[in-house]
Structure formats: C-alpha cells, structure tokens
C-alpha cells in the first residue's frame, strides 16, 4: 500500500515509491515486459493484435512532467515497441471496463478466424490523477475495500499490469462468451438493467445455462449503493439459476488487489484462473453484509466448470464474461 503525499487514500501500489519521468517509464516497461513474458505471448509470432486497455494509460508520466498534451495512443504504440510486437496495436479506453471490452474485441477476431493469437494488456499504472479524481467524486475509502461488506464505505484504487495471451487453439481456460453493455442513466454507477443484460448476453454467447455457473466473481468495489444493486441483479438472475446465496459461491479479489480500474478485466480473470487451478482462495478479513452476501466468505467446494465474472465502470459500462475450465474432471 502507498499513499500520495497530499492525498488521504491508500492505493494498492505496483512500486513502493512515487517515480517520475524516466524512472516511471523504466518501471512501467519492466512490469509490462515481465507480465507479457509470463503470459506466454512473447513465445509466439507477436503478429496478432495487441490491445492496451487502461483508464489512464501514461497519465502518470505526463502529470509528473506537467505535459498534458499529446497523443494517448502513442503510449500504446510505445508499449508495442517494448514487446517488439509486430501486429496492430489498439488502445481501449473504456474506464473500468477497458480490458474486459478489449477481451471482447480480441475474442471476436479470433473467433472470426482473422487472427490466431492476440494479447490483451490491462494497465493501470501509478498516477495521482485517477486517485484524486475518484477522491473528488467521494468514491474512495480511507480504510480498506470491503466489497459487499457490512461496513463498506468506498473503493481502494489498485495499480496493476496484467497480460492475457489469447489463442485460437484449445487450452484449459476458455473465454466462452462475453458481453459489454453501456447505459446512460447513471454514468458513475451500476444500472441494474444493463448489468442483467450483460449477464444474459454473456451466458447466451457462452452457450451456458445460468444454472451451470459454479462461481461468480463480483465487480463489487465496496460501494454502499452499487454493491447492493449488483447483489440485487444477481438475485434477479437467480430466477434462472445464478444464485449467490443458494447455488454458487461469490468471490471478490478487490480486498487483495484494490479496484484496478481499466486493468481489472485482465487482472481478475488471470487471478481467478490461478485460484481455480490451485484451489486457493483469498480469505475475507471483514464481515460481509448479511443482507447482500451472507456466503461471501465461503470457499467453493466443487470443481467449478463455468465461472461468471462481472465488471462495471464510469461512463455506464457493464461487462460480463463466462470463463470455462476445460480440464477433464
């Protein structure tokens, strides 16, 4: 955890001290290259599309030099250069659904046969701008993130670099189907109808019945209002089988990672697959709200074949993904 000197809120930090200029750039490059290498994407031809998904891109670099002009996409191109990437480079800036949306784009290209590999990088690199912005909106907690918690009082920002290498060939983890639904009624919050639509579309595209979902990875950030809306949507969809209280477990990674904003899609899918593979689960160090998520602390018992992951963000974005484990049981 780190705090910016003049701000009240802690941040789940990538590197321990604030860095500026060349120091910031060197740290960012090291993290990006390490994550991309771990994903296996650098072992391929690097000729597929590269998606750089972020709500902030290089604003942490620009703010330290007070250089607010410039082309944000140029940073995505620079990231491609760090990786010696030969395919087309796209930047996706959909606030906190950026990398969930980028996965949808990559998934479509692979499914359509245009490419056989793609890399999605979710980046939320250190910057004061985002923390101060969310602080100004009174969305942050000064203590800790407690998604669906009884004493939840806001989110904690998280920095992250996550890389997901997508291939058209069969693998253990399959992004079976996803959806992105933008709504205009509440640009800073979750809209129940839009989230429900995203869930239903993702299930339909995955060819999975709601009753087959064995685990829900929550979006919940610790917001008093939005967490309740999300819980209600899951209960409504429960009529068709996804039931956090009765039929499958819910899990949240935000107490461990913070809300990694535009990187959350890639970061939380990566972490979920790791948890499922290892059958290791983050412990909950706070009391869940008994009205919303009485079983949040429970560990899923059975093998989870299909997991549902939810994401939402500023600008009315709502996204859902079904992640399937293709390993034989």
């Amino acid at each position: 955890m780190r705090r910016y000197a003049d701000l009240d809120w802690p941040v789940h930090a990538l590197w321990p001290k604030e860095a500026a200029g060349a120091g910031w750039l060197a740290q960012a490059r090291a993290w990006v290259c390490a994550a991309a290498a771990q994903s296996g994407a650098l072992d391929g031809r690097r000729a597929g599309p590269l998606f750089v998904a972020s709500s902030s891109l290089d604003i942490g670099l620009r703010e330290t030099g007070l250089d607010w002009d410039g082309d944000p996409h140029a940073f995505a191109e620079a990231v491609g250069g760090w990786l010696d990437w030969r395919g087309p480079v796209f930047s996706v800036c959909n606030a906190c659904t950026s990398s969930a949306q980028a996965l949808l784009a990559a998934h479509g290209l692979l499914a359509g046969g245009e490419h056989d590999e793609a890399l999605v990088l979710g980046l939320e690199l250190p910057n004061r701008y985002t923390v101060a912005g969310f602080g100004a909106m009174q969305l942050l907690s000064e203590r800790a993130a407690q998604p669906m918690g009884a004493a939840r009082n806001g989110l904690l920002p998280g920095e992250a670099v996550a890389a997901l290498s997508l291939r058209a060939t069969p693998a253990r983890w399959r992004l079976a189907g996803g959806a992105n639904v933008v709504a205009g009624g509440n640009p800073a919050g979750i809209e129940a109808g839009a989230l429900a639509q995203a869930i239903r579309q993702a299930l339909q595209r995955a060819g999975v019945a709601a009753a087959d979902i064995g685990l829900v990875k929550l979006h919940a950030v610790g917001s008093p209002a939005n967490d309740a809306v999300e819980a209600r949507v899951l209960d409504q969809v429960a009529a068709t089988g996804v039931h956090g209280r009765g039929r499958c477990a819910w899990v949240t990674f935000k107490p461990a990672l913070g809300h990694t904003m535009g990187a959350s899609g890639a970061a939380e899918i990566a972490l979920l697959s790791g948890c499922l593979a290892a059958r290791a689960w983050p412990s909950l160090d706070y009391a869940p709200d008994p009205l919303l998520a009485p079983r949040l602390a429970e560990v899923p018992h059975a093998h989870v074949r299909h997991a549902l992951l939810l994401f939402a963000g500023i600008g009315g974005g709502h996204a859902a993904w079904v992640l399937s484990d293709e390993a034989p049981t």
Binding site: I59, Q101, V182
Partner: protein
C-alpha cells in the same frame, strides 16, 4: 432543424467498409464544426446538454447529425458504437489537472474528472440516441484499422448496425466524423 448544413456531407462509401457485409447508410463530417454547432445541438435536442465537456458534446453533435442524415431518431437495437480519438477529451483533462494544481487540497472538480474520461461520451450517446448496448472507445494508428476491427466485432455480435465516430480536440481545433453502417442481409 439543420445542424450546420455546410459541413454535412455524404461522401462515397469509404474503402475500409467491408462491402460484402455492410452498407453506408449515412455519414456526417464537421471538421471543423460550424461556429454555432453548440447552439444547433441544443436546439436539436430541445435542451442544452450539461456537464459533458467540449469533446463529448462534439461527439454527440456528430452522432446525432449522422443519425438525422439517415432519417433515424435513435440507434437500432443491437447496434454497436465505436469511437476513436487520438486527442481524447483534451480540454477537460487540462482543466481538471489545472484545477487540482491550484486548489488548496490538490483535488480536481468531480465533474471535470468525469469529463476527462472518454467513456462519458458513450453514456451520453446512450441517453440522447435512445440506445443501450455495446459501445467502446478504441484507437489505433489509422482510422481504417480501427474501423476494420469494429466491423469484425459487429459481425461477431451479429449486430444490425454500426455507428463509427472520430472526435478530435486539439486546443481550439475541433473535428468530428461519423458513419452509420447497416448490415447487408444476404438471402
């Protein structure tokens, strides 16, 4: 109500359109927009859109005009929207950063911060184009590359329509271009 007719054009279908799948229903270009574009937009919407910032407001102006050129009051259900921008909401970012720098607590104005997020334009289009669906802000080195990706995504989603817009803000220089593509149904 016209929206600054001198800049509204319907050029031939651009080469990047995948003609086997899509047809161009309408396009709109305001590069730069007419001097009274904000007044024209407010008149078209019957109210002044508030707290959007110049960049998102310009995008809304272009999208609305493109749909008007197609004779549509709103976007078809299931349509995809893709917005590309090399600049992003530049003035909102500048103002947000400047306000934070000079305020005693180092904080920006909350509405300024939201206006600096490109995704605000997507929520704006939802509200004013009577639409809810798959929207994204995506950018690449060249617009045709971005629009090819968008068409692939729309095909994968079996979308009936695709609204594409580019919105640029560089200092006082503004430009926006929009295209509405409709899916060609093969018998």
């Amino acid at each position: 109500m016209n929206l600054g007719q001198p800049r509204s054009v319907s050029p031939p279908a651009p080469a990047w359109i995948l003609g086997a799948h899509w047809s161009l229903a309408a396009s709109f270009e305001a590069a730069p927009p007419d001097a009274r574009w904000r007044q024209a937009l407010a008149a078209r919407l019957a109210e002044r859109p508030r707290r959007l910032g110049v960049w998102a407001e310009l995008g809304l102006h272009g999208a609305r005009a493109c749909l008007d050129a197609a004779g549509l009051s709103g976007l078809p259900e299931g349509a995809l929207v893709r917005v590309a921008s090399r600049s992003g909401p530049q003035s909102a970012t500048h103002e947000t950063a400047a306000h934070a720098a000079r305020s005693p607590d180092g904080m920006p104005l909350p509405f300024g911060f939201i206006q600096s997020q490109p995704s605000l334009l997507l929520a704006t289009l939802c509200r004013w184009l009577d639409w809810q669906g798959d929207g994204a802000c995506v950018c690449s080195r060249a617009l045709p590359v971005t629009w090819r990706l968008a068409q692939s995504e729309a095909l994968a989603a079996d979308a009936p329509a695709l609204l594409l817009g580019s919105v640029e803000e560089s200092g006082d220089e503004l430009a926006t271009r929009w295209w509405l593509l409709l899916r060609t149904r093969r018998e």
